[in-house]
Amino acid sequence: MHNEPTWITLKDDVKENSLYSQILLFLNNKEELVDLLKAAGCTGVCTGPGGCK
């Protein structure tokens, strides 16, 4: 009944993808990113084996 989790590893050619470019643009503007995340109710960044601030 319990399916196994699947992680999709993307190839390096994903850098040609428009969504990748948009995410990169988003990440490169940290101030806007933080403001937008805060507006969405996010106080920080949670990680898998890492943590959250």
Binding site: M1, H2, N3, E4, P5, T6, W7, I8, T9, L10, V14, K15, N17, S18, L19, Y20, Q22, I23, L24, F26, L27, N28, E32, L33, L36, L37, A40, G41, C42, T43, G44, V45, C46, T47, G48, P49, G50, G51, C52, K53
Partner: protein
């Protein structure tokens, strides 16, 4: 794709009641939706390293689960990862490992992998669940992208 709800398969009745009570006066249905998204985070997060932005509500559920140490340990053991999902503060990591931040290109690739993996494991992002994934919602807002188009772009990467 995962069939059914993670909370139905992995959350004990006592943990469910505990979360519902701690989150009152929030409606039980909302608490269980947030719990489902938290479990989805735990279900996939051991497969990657680095930040996965979640909203405050999902983060709160994670913190509430961690406080019940024995039950949280058992929950992690019972999930497919079968390993304890640690939590550490971003501020702590800043001091413990000053180089923990990824370069933007690597982070962008991994964020995209997370979103594609989410859709593969749990189906398309919907109005009900995207509100708990701040990064995905932020992308749609910033680039004025419909949910349908966002899901389509994610599926094109498969």
């Amino acid at each position: 794709m995962y069939s059914g709800f993670l909370h139905a398969n992995f959350l004990t009745e006592s943990l469910r009641c505990y979360l519902v009570e701690k989150c009152r006066p929030q409606a039980e249905a909302e608490t269980m939706q947030q719990t489902e998204e938290c479990l989805r985070f735990l279900y996939l997060s051991h497969l990657t390293k680095g930040s996965i932005p979640v909203c405050q509500q999902v983060d709160n559920i994670w913190h509430l689960l961690i406080l019940q140490t024995k039950e949280y340990f058992e929950l992690c053991q019972n999930m497919p990862c079968k390993t304890y999902i640690h939590h550490s503060s971003d501020i702590y990591l800043k001091y413990a490992n000053p180089n923990y931040r990824e370069v933007p290109e690597a982070e962008a690739k991994r964020q995209l992998e997370w979103l594609v993996s989410y859709v593969v494991n749990f189906g398309d992002m919907s109005e009900e669940n995207i509100k708990y994934w701040s990064f995905a919602r932020g992308i749609c807002t910033k680039f004025n992208m419909s949910l349908e188009n966002f899901n389509k772009k994610l599926r094109e990467l498969l």
